[in-house]
Symmetry: C2
Subunit: 205 residues, 2 copies
């Protein structure tokens, strides 16, 4: 049991090191030696857990998918309506993308067109955003807009904020995301709820 736990920790350390080295050097240039050395394990230990660099990349994306899942489920049921849920979750995602290298690099790997089976995290986020907007529609808090069409624009904008962050962290700041919602909410929300919605997120950060 202790042995299994240690193996699990080593695996997690390798995933985090891989994300850090991919982030710094780029996936193609990243060396397995740099990754194992950063994790404080031998090359042999790395190869025990991962068959190849591509396998490590898949595991980083997988770990990021689990984190994304935790982020979107954390808010469910916690707030009044699904539009506020969407706003809160987007703020949370932006903050975690800034803080968590595994989540961030997972998204980067997911948009790498040369890798096979790409786009997984974007599809996961898109599906969740569309679901939240459909729920908002059922709750009667949406203005005369179509959930599917709004979802595409929201996913495009959040993707843009995440991509542009590599140029300047301000793109993923609380202020930028708040301004985005200040722009969009008056168009999205039914007049009856607009006054109650908090573009900056309804929980204290």
């Amino acid at each position: 049991m202790v042995k299994q736990e240690r193996a699990l920790r080593t695996r997690e350390a390798l995933i985090k090191s891989a994300a850090t080295v991919f982030d710094r050097d780029g996936f193609s240039v990243a060396s397995l030696t740099a990754i194992s050395s950063l994790a404080g394990v031998s090359n042999g230990a790395l190869h025990f857990h991962f068959a190849s660099k591509a396998g490590l990349a898949d595991s980083v994306e997988e770990a990021a998918a689990e984190r994304l899942d935790r982020i979107v489920t954390a808010h469910e049921g916690a707030v009044g309506n699904a539009l506020q849920l969407l706003v809160n979750t987007s703020h949370d995602l932006a903050r975690r993308l800034t803080e968590d290298v595994v989540l961030r690099v997972g998204f980067e790997l997911s948009r790498d067109q040369v890798r096979e089976g790409g786009g997984r995290l974007y599809r996961q986020w898109h599906q969740w955003v569309e679901g939240a907007l459909k729920r908002a529609d059922c709750e009667g808090v949406l203005n005369e807009v179509t959930p599917e069409e709004v979802a595409a624009s929201v996913v495009a904008a959040t993707t843009g904020f995440e991509v542009l962050r590599t140029q300047d962290p301000e793109w993923l700041s609380h202020r930028t995301i708040t301004r985005f919602w200040q722009l969009l909410l008056p168009r999205l929300a039914a007049a009856s709820v607009l006054g109650d919605l908090v573009a900056a997120g309804s929980r204290s950060r």
Copy 2:
């Protein structure tokens, strides 16, 4: 003169081949031999024009910057107000990104955080979008929104459409961009001009 012209054509062919091979294989994996062979020239000819693969990437980005400049200036003065100008130009950019591998790969290279001096094309596009919105503000066709704040969200969304296109071309389709403007224009435009604005672009495509 004929010799100079031929040299210029070879250079352009190499830039296009480089973009094509970067697009297919990724920058890090792309080989100079594949690039020169696709351009139909010798490795020696490639090295006559470009010192390295990084130099080729810089030239692809430079060529894309010139194309972007031509796209944004092509519409100036052609339509009634600056909001419609912004809509038309965004449609044109989306179409050209789909068709023109040099423009598309220029943007991809520009967002590669491992390359030095990245982000050039995004800054160029951001600057232009902000300028167009400031002009719309002076023309009195903006609703009560701030040009700078709108510009950030428009740039983020267009960046997202461009990035997500690698997963599915529909993200950069005329339909997707039209829906984005259908969503945003009622929030951006003064009531006096909203009825005249065409989210699908005001020129026949």
